[in-house]
Each structure stands twice: as C-alpha cells, then as structure tokens.
C-alpha cells in the first residue's frame, strides 16, 4: 500500500494560505484564553479535591445540595467515572472562619457522646485544629483512641506520659466527608482519591512547568543549531511555539464544550506538552534532514523548489509516523480511563498540529528568511 507517492505540489507557493490558517487557529484559541481564561487543575491552583465512590448510583445535584449547605464558598462537583463516582473540589485551603464554630460544636458533641459531661477546656484553635485539655492523662488517651476509631484525626499534643492535651485536626475534606456521612446515611461511600495541594506548592509547580518548557525549547534549539544551520533550528523552534500556543488556545476554546472531557491543565498535561515539544519536532527533523541531503546533491536548484521537493518526498513518512503515534494516542484517549484523558487529548491534537506545522510552517519560515536576507542557505 502506498500513500502520497510521487506528489508534486507547490506547498511553499501556497504558504500564505497556511499562514492564514495558522493565524486564525491561533486567534480563535487565544481570544478564548483571554475571554474565558485557562482552567488549571488543583496541581497548580492549590486546594482540595476528593473523589467519592458511593455504593448506589448517586445524583450529583443531591450531593451538591448537601455540600453547598456547608457554606464553603465555591465548590465544584462533577461525576467521576460512572454513576457512583463524584468529584468534589474546592480551592479553599482550610475551613472558612465563619463556619469553624460549627466544626468545633460538632467535635464537642462527639466528645460528649463518649464521655457525657466531661470537663474540658479549649486551649487553642487554629485554622484547622482545636486543642483541648482534660483533667487527667488516662482520660485523654482513651478519648483520643475512641475519636480516632470514629474517624476523627485526634492526637496527643506531646508524648510525655503526663500529657493531658488533645489536638483534633479537621481539614476541609474531612468536614465534607463528615457532612455527607450524616446527611446520606443510606448510601455509604469510599474515598477513591484525595488530593490536597498547598498554595505555595501550586505556585512552585507552575514555575517549574514554565522553566521545563522553556528549557526544552532551548535544548532543542541548541541541538538543532548544532546539527543543522542555526536558521533551521529557529524555524523548528518557532514551529514548536506555534504548536504549543495553538494547543493551549484549543484548551481554552474547548473547555466545557465536549461533555465528559475534562480539559484542565494539570501536571500530566504539562508532561504531555513537553512530550509534544520533543515529538513534534521529529517531523520537522525528517524534512530538514532531506533538505540538507538535497542541498548537497542539487547545488544549483532554487531553495523554494528544493524544499518543495523535500517536503513532497518525505510527505508519506511524515504522515505515517504521525499516524502511528495518533493511533496509539487514540487508543489511550478511548481506553486509558478518566485519569489520562486530558493527557491523551493534548497529545492527540498536539500531534496533528505539530505535523501540520512541520510540513507547512517550519520550512516556510526558513524560506522566508532566505528570501528576506537574500542569503544562500547551505551546509
């Protein structure tokens, strides 16, 4: 079987059309980025995310009504996987001050249930902890183990034998779970995933992701400059920018458009972008490799014709190599499960755009440069 064999198309003569296509794609995406914004996952934003698996099918709106009653501000809920999974996410780090007294009451009650009427003093309360003091060490220890068994995060303040203080930690996730347990007693749930990312970590991850992307681009620029002429390296890296920016734009444009596709930028998506950078340059290398070879053979052929011929000759393999990767990524997109969906999506569209830019953008840029400066490109 053969595809794209012996084609003789003047791609570079039509390069203006491709410029228009690229610029429109870019504009559509980035208008969306500016208007609707990019949606980051909790890896970058920080916050708390829990995924619950209920025993019976559950209606997200029911869960939502209970969660909203807690008063945590904006909380996002969606189904996860099948009908029994619910994802709950909030950007808050701690339980808001306004509802913390409720939490304290709740724990007071829990203590009273174990030891009715026990004298206790609150030594300290912070954003997520309450510290109690009791009259003797044995009661304190007993209380801690009973509360722990009941699912509270109770602990000693110090391990000294005379310790009479108990600290109870209540994170935002604990509080949501506690509320759902009491409100939905006939449908118990299991926690299948729980993530908590502090605000500082989120910022650091963001910085690291940007550094990693920048370093990859620089690394590729240096390597290609070393292997080819500098201008080829620039062409390839500009094409990479083109791919990444358009794919990011696509993220903003498609966010919430396709049901069941959660397009949030998280760590794995960044990994996908980096892979994309590394992979999509491959096709560019194939074309440039042929240009380099042809430049040695046809010393007098005009550059435009030479590049055209190289693109045409390598067209079949460019399409085929991208095609096999697309096949694998498509399998991943369909069968890879919820966790890898955004990752596969990035690679899928990124590879398509990357292949397009390798053929039509990278070589065109080299030609533009040579025409503009009347330079002779050689090796």
């Amino acid at each position: 079987m053969r595809i794209f064999e012996n084609i003789h198309i003047d791609w570079l003569g039509k390069r203006k059309i491709f410029y228009v296509i690229s610029i429109s794609l870019f504009l559509i995406g980035w208008v969306n980025v500016l208007v609707r914004g990019l949606h980051f996952g909790i890896d970058f934003k920080g916050g708390t995310e829990i995924v619950l698996q209920f025993q019976k099918p559950v209606d997200v709106s029911t869960v939502r009504s209970y969660v909203e009653k807690i008063g945590l501000g904006f909380v996002e809920l969606k189904t996860f996987g099948g009908e029994t999974g619910v994802l709950i996410r909030t950007e808050s780090q701690n339980i808001p001050k306004s509802i913390f007294p409720k939490v304290v009451d709740h724990i007071d009650n829990a203590i009273d249930k174990i030891y009715p009427g026990i004298p206790k003093t609150k030594v300290d309360t912070s954003a997520s902890t309450i510290t109690y003091a009791f009259s003797n060490a044995d009661t304190t220890n007993e209380l801690i183990s009973r509360l722990l068994a009941a699912g509270y995060q109770a602990g000693k303040v110090s391990e000294e034998l005379t310790n009479k203080q108990m600290v109870v930690r209540v994170g935002i996730a604990d509080w949501i779970k506690e509320n759902l347990r009491t409100n939905m007693p006939d449908n118990s749930f299991q926690i299948i995933k729980e993530d908590h990312v502090g605000p500082k970590v989120g910022n650091e991850l963001k910085t690291n992701a940007l550094i990693a992307i920048a370093l990859s681009l620089i690394g590729i620029l240096i390597y290609l400059a070393f292997r080819f002429k500098f201008i080829f390296a620039v062409g390839a890296v500009v094409a990479l920018f083109h791919d990444v920016l358009i794919t990011i734009g696509l993220y903003a444009a498609l966010y919430g458009v396709i049901p069941g596709l959660n397009l949030e930028i998280d760590l794995t998506v960044v990994a996908a972008f980096l892979t994309l950078i590394g992979y999509s340059v491959n096709d560019t290398v194939i074309v440039f490799d042929r240009v380099r070879e042809n430049l040695k053979i046809h010393k007098t052929m005009p550059l435009e014709e030479l590049i055209n011929q190289s693109v045409n000759r390598t067209m079949s393999r460019t399409i085929l190599t991208a095609g096999t990767v697309l096949l694998a990524v498509l399998v991943l997109l369909i069968f890879g499960g919820e966790v890898l969906r955004a990752f596969s999506f990035t690679l899928f569209f990124g590879t398509i755009i990357g292949t397009y830019s390798s053929i039509f953008v990278a070589s065109a840029l080299v030609l533009e440069y040579a025409n503009r400066f009347q330079k002779k490109v050689n090796f």
Binding site: R2, G155, K193, L215, L267, N282, I286, L327, L332, F335
Partner: protein
Amino acid sequence: MKEYRFRLILILGAVVLSLYLLYPTYVNYNNQKAISKVVAEKEKEIKASNPQISADKLDSKLKSIEDSLKNADPSINKMKLKSLKLGLDLQGGMRVVLEVNTGKLLEKLAKNPDDVFKTVMKESEKEATVSEESMVNIVAKKFAARGIRLSRYFGNIRQTDSEIISELQKDADDAVTRAMEIIRNRVDQYGVSEPTIQRQGSRRIIVELPGIAREEEAKQLLQGTALLEFKLVKDPELTISIMKKIDDVLAGTYVDSTKSDSSLAKGTTAKTKQSKVASTDTSNKQLSAEEFAAKHPFFAIAMLDPKGKSADAYVKGDDRDKLQLMLNRPEVQQVIPNNIQFVFSAKPIANQNGQPIYMLYCVNKNPELTGGVITNAVATISPETNAPIVNMEMNSDGAADWARITGANIGKRIAIILDGVVYSAPVVQNKITGGRSQISGSGDLQEAQLLAIVLKAGALPAPVDIIEERTVGPSLGQDSINNGFNSTLIGFLVVSFFMIVYYQRAGMIAAGSLLFTILFILGFLAGFNATLTLPGIAGIILTIGMAVDANVLIYERIREEMETGKTLKASVDSGFSKAYSAIIDSNITTFITAVILYQFGSGPVQGFALTLMIGLGASLFSALVIAKVTFDYMVAKGIKVTIG
C-alpha cells in the same frame, strides 16, 4: 551465520537479561495471587464461624494471616523486592509532602518572646506563604527593619545577626533530620510495607506509604510528637529467668514454681562455642534445629550470647514480628512481671548472612526520665579516646533527677528509647551531676549523630505541616491497572495491524521488534528498580506509537532506493544507513525533553519520563539491530521480503 554472530549474541543477551529481570515479577504475581486466594478463603471461614465479627477485628485477623503467609517463605519477600514496583497511583496509597514549620520552631527557640516578637512572627508567617525566601531570612529582615538585633531573642548577646541567622538555619535543617528520623521510626513500627521517606530540598520530606488503609492513622503517624524515655535495663539474672518462663509457657512445659531460677542462670553461662549468636541450652547440643525450636520456641528465635555479660537477645529481622506476637499472647503476658517490658532495638545491630539482627532488651516499664528535660545533644569525636561520643545537656530539673538516677544505678545500663524502640543502652559509669553527660560506645560518628538527633527529638519537637497530600484508593488503582493493561494491548494490536497491512512482511518484522521493545522496557524498569506509574504506562503506549517511526523511516527509504533500480540487498543496506541521521536526530530531541521532564517532574510524571527514555533507547535497538538482522538474514536466505 558468522556475520550475524555478534549481533545475534547481543540480541539474545538483551532478551535473556530482560526475561531474567522480569522473572521475579512473574513469580511475585503468582505468589500474591496464591496468598490472596488463601486469605479470601479464610475470610469466608471466619465469617461463617463468627458472623458477628466486627470489621476491624476481621481486618486485623486477616492481616495477621496474610503476614504469616508472607513470612512463611523468605523467597516470597525476596521476589517481591526484585519485582517491578507499582506506583502509588496504581496500587493505592498515600503520598505526603511535609514541610518543617520554621515559624513554630523559631517560637520554640526564642528566649523571652514579647509582643513585638509575636507581631513580627505573625507578619512573617503571612509573608512566608507567598514568598520564596526562607522563613529565617524573612524574620531576620523584619527585625532588621525595626532596628532590633536578633540576639535579643536568639543565641547570645555577643553574636552578630549573620551568625545567628546561620545558626537558626542550621536548627531548621536539624529539625528536618529529626522529623525524618521520627517518621521513619514510626512508619517502621506501624508496619507499612516498602515505605519511602526522602528529603526534598532543605525543608521538605516526601513520605510515600503504599497501600495504607486508614488515612487518619497515617496522618497521625506523620504529625505526632515523639516520646523519648530513659529506662533502666534489667539485670541479666532476672531477664533470663523471665525469658525461661516465657520459653516454658510457649513450649507448654511451664510449671509455676520459682525454684528453678538458679539453675537457669547456669544454663546461659555455659558455653556453646558454635557462633557468636548461639543457643543457650547446653543440654540440647545433640538436638537438631527443629527439635530445639519445638522444645524452646522462645530461645530458638531470641538467641542469647553465651559469652556475653548481658541478657540482650539477638533476633533475626524475619523473626521480629513473630516474637512480638509471642510476647503479646495473654498466657505469656501473665509470666512477665507488670513493671517490665521487652523492647527491640531501633536499627539492626549487625548483619548475618544478609539477615539483619535486632536486639531485644528487657527494661523497666516506668521511665526514669523523659526527654523533655534535654536541652542539647551534640555528636563529636572525643579528643581523648578518638572515639565518637555524644554530649548531652539537661535543664536544671532534669539534672537533679539525673544525678539521683545515675548515682543509684552505677554499673547498670539505661536504655534510650524513642517511641518504643531502643537507640542505645549505655552503662552508667558514675554519678552525673550538673546535667552534662557524655555517651560513648557509638560505632562511628554517623551512629553518634543519629543518637544526638534522637536525644533532641524528645525535647525539641520538629513541627511539620502537610503541604501536599495525595491519596489513591485501591479500587481506583486497580481500575487504572486494568485500563493501562488494556490500552497497551489494544495499542500494540492496532499499530501492528496497521504496519502489517501497510508494509506486509516488512510490517511483520516491525511488529515483531515492537514486541521486543515492550519486553526491554519492562525488563529495564524492573532491573533499575524503577516504579511503574499510570503515566508510565501511558509512556509505554506512546512508545509503541513512536517506536515504529524508525521502521517507517527505514522502509520508506528502502522503497525509494528500490525505485532507483537497486537490488533488494543494496536497497536494504542503503535504506538503513541513509535513515540513520533522521532517526537519531528525532529521537535525541524527544530524549532531551524526557530528561528535562524527569528533572522537573515529580512522582507519576517522573515515571512517564523514565519509561519514555527507556522506550526510546529500546525502540532504537529494536529498529536498528533486531529489524536489520532479520532483514539481512531473510535477504541472504532468499526469503522474499515484501515491503508493501
């Protein structure tokens, strides 16, 4: 055949190596399956015989059954250690990033903190949540801005600000080390299998606990405070008599009498000069190991040194849990006096045939002193003896008690116990007044440093905050494994099918080398002790798609060469050689990004980067060596190679 010999050996070697590296994974998979089958059966049995059993009790029963199955054959554990590891996202578990709360630490370190100090701390804490700078620097800057010297709160009056800053930085650094030691100690005792505890940067600790069932308990392990105790080690005579009783109870020969005590002590001093770690009973010389174990179940695993002056027992790492279970039995508890307990050493004290050996000490249950009184502990090399020592200082309350305790127990040993395990049990040389003690006997400086950390752990808590936490339940992990496995299989089939349709026989070669590529990736992952994560599986699938790229480039080139009228053999040769540069260039660019990803990523993403790197290498080998040899062989043998 001669021309292929080298390459064939190379290929065969790679295949055999991969299979060899994957063999433990295969055995381990079967082992685990067998174990879970037995456990499931037992669960049914228990439920049938006792339908009212609580979930907690059932869990702990099943856990002990599982543990005993796992420990029954040491090879099970060995295989597990060598097998391909699954990341937390696949097997379920908890990953926690902890950061030492420097603010709280500074509050603890500060002398006479006043209102100004408190305001500054509050402001600094606020700034620290957004700033990249370290807390110590922020605090120092705030004080400098107010024209207050740091020596007002920290260090001593003669020190300059910069000296104090570097000292405080060191304290913060110490706190991380301390927190790590406390956590490691706890996690070990809690019995999490294969935990990892790593330091990240200067202030962070990453703890990974695979398969943890109770999140609350785990968090408690990580955030609690530590208890340091000094307990008196019991005399050998008493210890041995208790051990003998335990041994009798376990063997079923126990008669409640106190008469036999004196003869027992003799038994231990008698010599059996087989090895350093030997059994105690001379009368049993003729007994085989099995017979001895039946007669003396306790001494068979808690071995005494016949020449030693102490009654500390040596216990093999594998026997530790077994011994603990023995000691916990109610009938055994009955013969152990109320005020006495047995405790293990925190670290193995030696290694015998690759087995770690732990010590078992018999100590007073009530501590003589707890660690709150220690103000400082430093490890140094003694100028007199050139041996590593630890200098320990106590506050005045502690010093008074310490003088009394040491005075009354000269020549006896005092065990230093952190969270229930012994770190050292030095002998009291003389009465120590003034609270300054010197502890010698550490094997090397490192050991002494660990002891210093432990001594400080009881006094100065290392307050840690959870700044990142990721928990994956076992069910999601299993789903991910299934999805990953299915995707890999489908991906392989789809890509192979495509290659065969498009390139016919040459496509079959490509599909075959793809199979080798996957084998190599898995083999290398297992061999490098790497962890397979869900993104890692994604990396394998992606590699399947990318690996055939090299084949495509070569085949397209061969077709081109054939068009020019060359023979098949010549076309194959020049097709391979002309495709090299494009293949190498394009793989190197992908490799560059994978390396960067590995550097900047964390956890699962690193797993992806790793599989991608290994995958690139493996696919190059498959395409350039395996496919080439196959081609050469077929061409030479005159087998028709169709290339579509």
